[in-house]
Subunit: 191 residues, 4 copies
DNA sequence: CATGAATGAGCATTCATTCAT
DNA sequence: TATGAATGAATGCTCATTCAT
């Protein structure tokens, strides 16, 4: 499902690449995208040179992190889309995406990419997500579980907003459940 | 603890200060906080030195922009709080804050400041806003217009989330109205 | 003896000029010549504009401070030169200059100016001092109080060095007396 | 408290570091510490980035220059301390330090550091120098070569002062010898 | 004349990216 | 291929000096 590598990639090179991606995800998430590349490389246990061999640009690294996140979300979405019950599928998927997107500020824009993506490599996974969501929304509306006047762009925006809401709220599980409840109730209303 | 001297400020100085604030608001909003100070100064038609005379730090400038925004919001909130009808007051205020907060990404955190503010100068206006919102929420819940299980932190988080939602959504008025409708319906639900 | 002003100078202007000189002396002495002009102006209770009206350049201000210091030294030197006893006159003058020159680091170069002065306005007073010292040295050597092989440039250098020594030593009066004793003994030796 | 890792340093890196130290010593000495870092880097044939990689701060660079100077002095002092004759050892060492310390103004303070050092990295070499000097002074006084009432702080101050004297005097070797002769005679006096 | 706001060249420092080892 | 040293454009901020009020 992901773009095929030009070449099989040697075992250690693959390991380095993976380690860099993991580290970058962690570091970008916890400390923001302003962290120097050198620090990411060090945290991953490689030199900067290696980082730039794998990702020709800092932006490319960020992009790769986002793509992977979107891929994961896409896969999970696909799983839930197969769910028998349309309502359960829709709301489970909403909750899942929102929780997967959690992390520090700049990552709300990972999902933003699903709407209007600037970078071409993000297009494929975000398109897939969008299509799945379109399907889920359609079925949920067909089954009467979600208000019929909601279009896909609005759903995407609400996903971004819900992510921001939870980020803002902090870890209290009861409060988190309550705000999601509010949003879900809103989605159900007007049926 | 009190404002330090704050002499009246010469006419031209006041003009420059205002121009800088306006320009910075515009620039930060449209292009993010990463824009060089020099560019802001140029856009405001002054030298960097002038910028730094008025705001000793780039961060101080950003802070001043946020404070002004919060002050405006606080004033508008106060006006609406006097509204006879609790429901109208509450939802009008929600809408108003969300619309006032619009702008690029980093500005969702202006409101975030209403929850946990890092900078002391933001404390006063954000505290005021929070208190007004607490009153509005209380009255709205008392009148049965808003579900009773919602606490202030959740309301603040939802405000941030709604702002993010609208930012994500773009300018289409119908879509914006629909999305707000969803959130409002959620707030009303479960009464 | 000093350069005559182009114009009598109004009373308040004269007061400002004097205040600036006093303040600059104090500030340059205690905190070095790196202190911003604005701070000196503030400490003197005037605006920067006034400072620059009186002294067209920061360097000019520093120069004026030095000139005044040299003038004082020159006057004191003249007084002592009239002393009956050549030895007493010479050593008293040495001690006096060294003590007058005390202050923070960059001021050892005030006297340095007496040797090779870069700035013309320093030439007059430093020349006068040099001539007085030449006379004092001559008489002291004539009376056998100072070793005969010492020339004027060396005396000037020793004055600078003695100033530096005392600056380095700190305030302990006994220690200060002892190092001066050492230098004086050296000057007397070899007669 | 121990040196942090200090891995061997690549050949070219070591060369650059050395070149930077040499250049900085030269430039700081001849033109003062106010010279822009960029100029030092250019004079050393490297980019600013390289300078800051080796010395994280301009101050750190200055410190490194001073430490090296002090180290050299300490080594030379140690050699002379082994000298059989106490008087020769003492005066030779005095002369050596004074000559080694030559350079423009701000460098008299390198030795000042032997008295009250501000920066920890200067502590070790300056302490060593001070201890050596204490030993030399003690032996010289024991052998009757130096007046008995002189304490270590005064000796240090006199070293600084003698450096300043020579700096002030210029290159004439005869004059320099005479001035040192004066100071040495003073140190011998009063035995 | 005095004031202090405005100016902008100048400086220390950072960091994405390149390239010698 | 990996490493990390080198690079230098870019940035936030300072301060001597000018000039409108």
């Amino acid at each position: 499902m992901t773009a095929p590598q030009d070449r099989p990639l040697r075992a250690d090179a693959a390991r380095n690449r993976a380690k860099l991606l993991d580290t970058a995800t962690e570091v970008f998430t916890t400390r923001g995208v302003g962290v120097p590349t050198e620090e990411i490389a060090r945290a991953a246990g490689v030199g900067v040179g290696t980082l730039f061999r794998h990702f020709p640009t800092k932006e490319a690294l960020l992009e790769a992190v986002l793509v992977r996140r979107l891929d994961t979300i896409a896969a999970d979405t696909a799983r839930l889309a197969a769910e028998a019950e349309p309502a359960e599928a829709f709301f489970g998927c909403f909750r899942l995406i929102v929780e997967r997107s959690a992390g520090k500020n700049e990552f709300a824009q990972a999902l933003a990419a699903a709407g209007v993506d600037v970078h071409s490599s993000l297009r494929a996974p975000s398109t897939e997500i969008r299509e799945r969501l379109a399907g889920l929304l359609d079925r949920a509306q067909g089954s009467g579980a979600v208000r019929p006047d909601l279009a896909l762009p609005e759903l995407l925006a609400l996903l971004v907003g819900a992510t921001a809401t939870l980020e803002q709220l902090g870890p209290d599980p009861a409060a988190r459940a309550r705000v999601l409840e509010v949003i879900f109730a809103g989605l159900r209303s007007g049926r």
